[in-house]
């Protein structure tokens, strides 16, 4: 089976996303997140190249700046300051959750060819764009459900957001630029606020295991 550049980049981003599930070392998680987002940036640039939509280059540059360069570095700094290294007690062991992620990739492939309307606009007859996006979405959800550390929750949210972004890039001819920029700003502010909260969680509770935050209930 021959993959076009578009399909190869989409799959690369999905696989790099799944690799985040493969370890509970938070620093490695962050690096994989960086590479995974970098693949998405490359895909954006490639789509900009084949569709001649110049605004996609600007969006790609902004994503590179915010999500590849700034956010992982910021979260790395938060990790260092809060002195957390790994997410020890994940609900599901890392190798198992990575395999689950791989299975979800397969399910995404089947789903994306079944759901009408997900053909994608750049590659006639190819579902791989929406397959990758859906798989990244599932990866993010898995990350949020199976991990306990507050940092993994933030990372899970970021991965989900990447999946949605990939949907936007592969299923449409690019969202309006103002919307894309507003979105990036929200993600940036959201990550910074939750990073600050994480400090406070560490300070008050002396851990960042959010599954232990269960004082409030009826």
């Amino acid at each position: 089976m021959q993959l076009s550049t578009f399909e190869a980049l989409a799959m690369l981003s999905a696989v790099l996303g799944i690799l985040i599930l493969g370890t509970t070392l938070l620093r490695t998680n962050l690096s994989f997140y960086r590479f995974h987002t970098l693949a998405i940036v490359a895909l954006t640039v490639w789509i900009g190249h084949i569709t001649k939509e110049a605004h996609l280059y600007i969006v790609a540059a902004a994503v590179l700046l915010v999500k590849v360069l700034f956010i992982p570095s910021f979260l790395g700094w938060v990790m260092k300051k809060a002195e957390v290294g790994s997410d020890k007690q994940a609900f599901i062991a890392a190798p198992l959750s990575m395999h689950l992620g791989a299975i979800m990739l397969g399910i995404s492939y089947l789903l994306s060819s079944r759901i009408p309307g997900l053909e994608g606009v750049h590659q006639e007859g190819s579902h791989l764009g929406s397959t990758a996006a859906m798989s990244i979405l599932f990866t993010g959800v898995l990350l949020m459900l199976t991990r306990r550390a507050a940092l993994s929750q933030i990372l899970g949210f970021l991965v989900i957001e990447n999946g949605i972004y990939l949907f936007a890039v592969t299923q449409t001819h690019g969202m309006p630029m103002l919307v894309e920029m507003g979105l990036l700003l929200e993600v940036l502010v959201g990550v910074m606020i939750s990073g600050l909260l994480l400090f406070n969680i560490k300070k008050s509770f002396e851990h960042i295991d959010v599954s232990q935050l269960t004082d409030l209930k009826d």
Binding site: M144, T172, P176, L178, G182, I193, S194, N200, D218
Partner: protein
């Protein structure tokens, strides 16, 4: 464009000033004054719509305010103005009765409230679903510091859950927005648009499977933010841990923003296919939320959580109104709920502050301690529970009548029973708080002033119940 800038001038200036003024007593009064000025300004900008001279005002591409939106802006500004007026009293009372809050924390509170007001105002200005999403996420981010106000472990837990659950929920609304945009690119619109006004015009040509998918994701996403069952888990935590003026704003104005998002998305799908099965989901989810909330109301043992669940119940009713496609009823329900619930949260804040506990089992004898507050609490809880002749009774009646017209017999019956159950539940709980032996360590500070804003709000929802002619709707 000028008018758009005008709408944001006062809050942005006040936000800046709050950070720099040293005396927080002055900031409190200034913010309250600024909020009332903002209300006057909003009325003057929106006057052509309010008097019926025009149906909408366009500020910029993608930023159009229609009749429903302008009513909601008025309501939001009014709620914030009331809450800020009361906040000035609330923080003073805290300084007298208990441990005063640090000045730096109060400064941040006032600055953030103004940013929050701007975010909420912009929600109702959006015609573009993309901008709408950004504005709603901005309301989440700007209200997180309000929930974290107390700076203790419980507040931290509530804020964390609020931020994560709502952000992920809203992320799914973004996915829905992407799908709707994709649907518009496979239609007459060619290059696609997110502007609701354009989407409605060419709704019939949109790719329906994508539109349906987009709508369902928007419903779930914004529904999480509005607190519909079973996605409501964050709501009671956030509403009970925030300080009373912030709880009042979260309940009385923030929930309306998320519901407005559902309303916008639903106008597109009903224009595409009036009887789409996916759209029935809205009414069903609304009814389910009312039923679930009424059960939670019965078994509450925390005063502020009780009101939070009552908010969820009212959100259910509003979602149900959206499911019936009735904009006016949606607004009237929101209006009556906001007025009564803000009043309740403010008066309950006083009670909690004076008694030093939120636990229902430890609250009793309010009538003996402070008859004035007891009266306000009784009236406000009657108004929230929907007793005649308060405004919410009239809206709930019209809602049920209208639902019979739509042949939602089972849902109407379910809602009817649930409303009766929660009515009894709320009255039983407030009865226990009001009657019984008074508490010896109940510290009342400036009793009449404390009840001023809550009483005014209750009076206004009573006036709505008596004066608005529901037959014409």
């Amino acid at each position: 464009m000028n008018e758009l800038g005008l709408l944001f001038t006062i809050p942005s200036l006040t936000a800046l000033l709050s950070l720099f003024i040293k005396k927080t007593a002055i900031t409190g009064k200034l913010c309250a004054l600024a909020a009332w000025l903002q209300l006057a300004l909003v009325i003057s900008v929106l006057l052509p719509i309010l008097t019926g001279h025009s149906t909408s005002i366009s500020f910029a591409p993608g930023l159009i305010v229609d009749k429903l939106g302008s009513y909601f802006i008025l309501l939001t500004t009014f709620v914030v103005a009331c809450a800020l007026t009361h906040a000035d009293y609330f923080f003073q009372a805290q300084a007298v009765i208990g441990e005063p809050y640090k000045d730096s924390r109060l400064k941040l509170f006032y600055a953030v409230v103004n940013i929050f007001l701007m975010a909420m105002t912009s929600v109702f200005l959006c015609d573009s679903l993309g901008y709408l999403w950004i504005a709603i996420e901005a309301t989440t981010l700007s209200s997180a510091p309000l929930v974290y106000f107390e700076r203790n472990k419980h507040a931290l837990e509530a804020t964390w859950k609020y931020l994560i659950v709502c952000s992920v929920g809203i992320a799914f609304a973004l996915l829905g927005t992407v799908f709707i945009f994709a649907a518009s690119q496979r239609s007459d619109l060619g290059s696609g648009t997110l502007n609701v006004s354009e989407l409605i015009v060419s709704a019939k040509t949109l790719s329906f499977p994508l539109l349906r998918l987009g709508f369902i994701f928007c419903l779930l996403g914004y529904g999480t933010k509005a607190g519909i069952f079973p996605l409501h888990s964050w709501l009671p935590d956030a509403h009970s841990e925030a300080p009373a003026p912030a709880s009042a704003m979260l309940s009385g104005s923030l929930l309306n923003c998320a519901l407005f998002g559902i309303w916008k998305a639903s106008t597109v799908i009903t224009a595409a296919k009036p009887e789409a099965p996916a759209f029935h989901l809205v009414a069903v989810m609304g009814a389910l939320t009312v039923v679930a909330a009424s059960i939670f109301i019965i078994r509450q043992h925390n005063l502020k959580r009780l009101w939070a669940y009552s908010s969820i119940e009212n959100v259910g009713l509003m979602v149900f109104a959206i499911g019936l496609g009735s904009g006016p009823l949606f607004f009237l329900q929101a209006l009556n709920h906001s007025l009564a619930k803000v009043s309740l949260f403010l008066i309950s804040g006083n009670i909690v502050q004076a008694a030093g506990t939120k636990k229902l089992s430890k609250l009793h004898g309010l009538l003996e301690n402070s008859p004035f507050w007891a009266g306000a609490l009784a009236l406000a809880s009657l108004a929230v529970a929907g007793a005649p002749p308060f405004g919410s009774f009239m809206t709930e009646m019209s809602l049920l009548t209208l639902s019979l017209g739509h042949k939602y017999y089972i849902l109407a019956a379910l809602i009817n029973v649930a409303l009766a159950v929660s009515f009894l539940g709320i009255l039983a709980h407030t009865g226990k708080v009001i009657f019984g032996a008074g508490k010896p360590d109940f510290k009342v500070f400036s009793e009449r002033r404390a009840a001023l804003v809550p009483m005014l709000l209750v009076a206004s929802t009573l006036a709505i119940g008596l004066l608005v002619n529901y037959e014409s709707r």
